[in-house]
Subunit: 354 residues, 3 copies
């Protein structure tokens, strides 16, 4: 009972904090029909600066971290990415009114990670003075890639099976699995290689990896302390504003797709976050993973990809309907994930102590 009250109090207080307040402000503006908009080039630049900041910070931390303390959470992150997609495959993708490809793509996005949501989680922990492992952002690509690869491989396998069925019936179709991603690999590994390359080259993952590399190999500490770190919270407030407006705009697209997406978009972030929290809690008890780290693992699992994932999926699963998976992720998944951050913080405070 006390825990429930604590959780509620934390949530109410968090909504007044800049991160959530700007998100809600953006949603209210969009709902009121405001013509305010943040120009696309500025949006891309803000995201790039945030990802560079998160990456550089993680790179500097990884430099000093011992490999083992990084390895266990990294494996957990990858396992979570796969588990979330598998869960979506046996629930959402089997629902009536949901095309299998649409369901797989949506599950893939919900397994992948939103850098903005992760950054929002970090900012909220920073504001409370709650410590977390500096290398956390280095876990991002593990979960992100595991989820996207799982979803795309499942989609391709399904397509191949269907083509094979048609082929054995009609006899003329050829297996196109893996084509267009390199041509040299044998089926499955060619597909995975293609997805890996596409994802690593995507602007979001590129910026994050560049930051990681700069933080790890170079000495960018001076420019990090004088520029990237001080601008972080302000730029995040802008990004939250944009995401709030975007979320509202995407909601209208949801009207065209099955209602089950609405249920999935509202509940999946909470279920996935709880999975991530449980995994983090287990690592906490085994390796002394910090309470802040547990919260951020939950935030990553709860989040769904809004920037880097959609273009990858559009290229890899062209049969899927973007207004289903992008609408569900950006319109519902992301705001729910961001708004649920205080929940994981309150849970961590109750179960671990911060």
């Amino acid at each position: 009972m006390d825990i429930a009250v604590d959780i509620l109090t934390t949530i109410v207080a968090q909504v007044q904090k800049p991160t959530l307040a700007f998100l809600l402000g953006g949603m209210i503006l969009a709902a009121a029909g405001s013509k305010l908009d943040v120009p696309e080039p500025v949006y891309k630049f803000v995201v790039m600066l945030l990802l560079l900041k998160v990456g550089i910070g993680a790179g500097i931390s990884v430099r000093d971290a011992d490999l083992m303390s990084l390895l266990v959470p990294a494996l957990a992150a990858a396992a979570l990415g796969i588990a979330i997609v598998a869960l979506g495959t046996v629930t959402l993708a089997r629902m009536r009114g949901v095309a299998r490809m649409d369901g797989l793509a949506t599950a893939g996005l919900f397994g992948a990670v939103s850098a903005s949501t992760l950054a929002a989680g970090m900012a909220m922990l920073d504001a409370e003075g709650i410590a977390y492992e500096g290398f956390i952002a280095a876990l991002y690509p593990f979960m992100d890639l595991a989820a996207l690869i799982t979803a795309i491989v499942l989609a391709r396998l399904g397509a191949a099976r269907r083509i094979a069925a048609t082929a054995s019936a009609g006899g003329t179709a050829t297996l196109t699995l893996g084509s267009g991603t390199g041509g040299t690999g044998t089926g499955g590994s060619g597909v995975i290689g293609g997805i890996l390359t596409d994802t690593l080259r995507s602007p979001a993952i590129s910026a994050l990896l560049l930051g990681l590399g700069l933080g790890f190999f170079a000495r960018p500490d001076s420019v990090y302390d004088s520029f990237y770190e001080p601008l972080f919270r302000g730029l995040l407030s802008i990004l939250m504003l944009i995401m709030g407006m975007e979320a509202w705009a995407r909601l209208s697209e949801m009207r065209k797709v099955a209602h089950v997406y609405l249920v999935y978009g509202l509940t999946a972030p909470l279920i996935h976050g709880a999975l991530g929290f449980a995994a983090g809690l287990a690592i906490h008890h085994v390796t002394g993973f910090s309470a802040g780290g547990v919260v951020l693992l939950a935030v990553m699992a709860a989040s769904s990809s809004d920037i880097s994932g959609p273009p990858t999926l559009r290229a890899a699963i062209p049969e899927a309907n973007p207004s289903a998976y992008v609408g569900t992720s950006t319109g519902l998944g992301t705001p729910v994930a961001i708004l649920s951050i205080p929940l994981w913080m309150a849970l961590a405070e109750a179960l671990i102590g911060l």
Copy 2:
């Protein structure tokens, strides 16, 4: 005599200060044919950040202000907006060579407020360490809306009267007053509702109201202190540079319209500013309104809308010629209003003491 010397000294010193120096620098660059330009998306973003900053600051102040001390200046601001448009209607709009619709639209813009000019005034008071009520920016929408609504209603009434005259003569025209803004309201109130909605949804007013809301309902103080406030003066210097270049570019458009616009654009900011100053002085004596507040009320009255006003007018008074009202406002009204800020500061120092 001493007052005149004081005023002149203040003005000369202010021209060297960043705000005015960047404005003049922009005008000189444009006059010299420089190809330097600030890209449109950056310009929109700079304006948005400035308005968010001004709004958040005002929202935080309104939170702590008692309603009465805000109410009197707010009513004065609205009255000034109406008075300035009324003055323009009986002077500019009746001049030979001035189409009535063009005159009304120009008077509307000069009654409305320029957020950039207001921000410049605030920065100049800050630089001198002169205090003013934090809620000042909350007065902006009162003056802005009152002026735009007055101008547009006068224009629509004029159009309706003309149509009615035609109708009684010919018998076929139908009254279209208020159509396109909702369809449910009866004439006048439908028009006003439409203008209100359009203006509140405009990017400038949206950003300002969002800031006000965030400052009032949320706790954005940390991000305000670490991001919006420190960047304010630097971003304003960029905005002044853009406005200087824009002012020079618009001057050439003025050549196509009647010379009376030139006289209006050069003198109206000073007359309106004096009206605002007088109103502020009266409030100062009654309620103890600060000297800085008096200066900023004069600055608001002197300013003419350059960002939010023109699109509203273009939609609401399509018969008016934009190169008349935009040219007069952006090319003459805004630079004169900004350059006259030191005048109100010197006047306040002489009459009230800072």
Copy 3:
């Protein structure tokens, strides 16, 4: 021997510093096929802010400098610009496989100055706490204009001579030297006036001169200290990232032109930098020019114009092939010049002491 080891150690350490690390990071990203890109409007704005900062800083310094201490380096800068183009004319432009116009345009770019490279040099000296004359940036236009004017005049004279030869043979061609740049001047001076005007109006030189003017005539110190100066190193890191990506992208264009451009692009920055260093060293011994100033004169001489120069050349020498001169400058000259900055720092430490 010790000097060589010192130089090598300095270079290795510098590559880890933010400026060079971001440049290399950009090149690696581009080589890996990353889709990260910095939107054009943001790029233009970042460059503008950097140039304003460099200009304002120089303007403030020139205000306090005595004219003589500025005059000698300024004349040396102009002489270096002319010497570098003359050197390119008798080497590159006479090579087999190099069209004379292409060679002249390339030499012009290598004689002109890159503001980004200069800014990188300043940031690296600042990071080491090495002092230099504040007015250094005021030397930029002297070298830049001298080089561009020399290259373009040589190109026009060559064209005129060829036309004259054709004319005396055939008898119908007319001398078009200087046409299109004003029409009033007699031949040569009309050309020079046109180039001067075009160059001074270019965005880069405009921003630099605006900054110089603001620093010299106005009192922008407050906004300089609170905005332009603190953002300098962070924005430079973004610019280096862009330039690294751009350099890699341009390298592929080089494949289409003669191999001699490859040799020129890789070696000319080092030879020109050595010329600049020698000139700086001479001024150091005569007038007490600082060691940091010597380094920056070498950096300016080593650098090749990547932003302001190409459009001027495209307009003035339309016969030259941009993929030759832009590719050689942006793809090879600029990264080599930036990567060689530590070399001049190490040389200055060995020969002058810092």
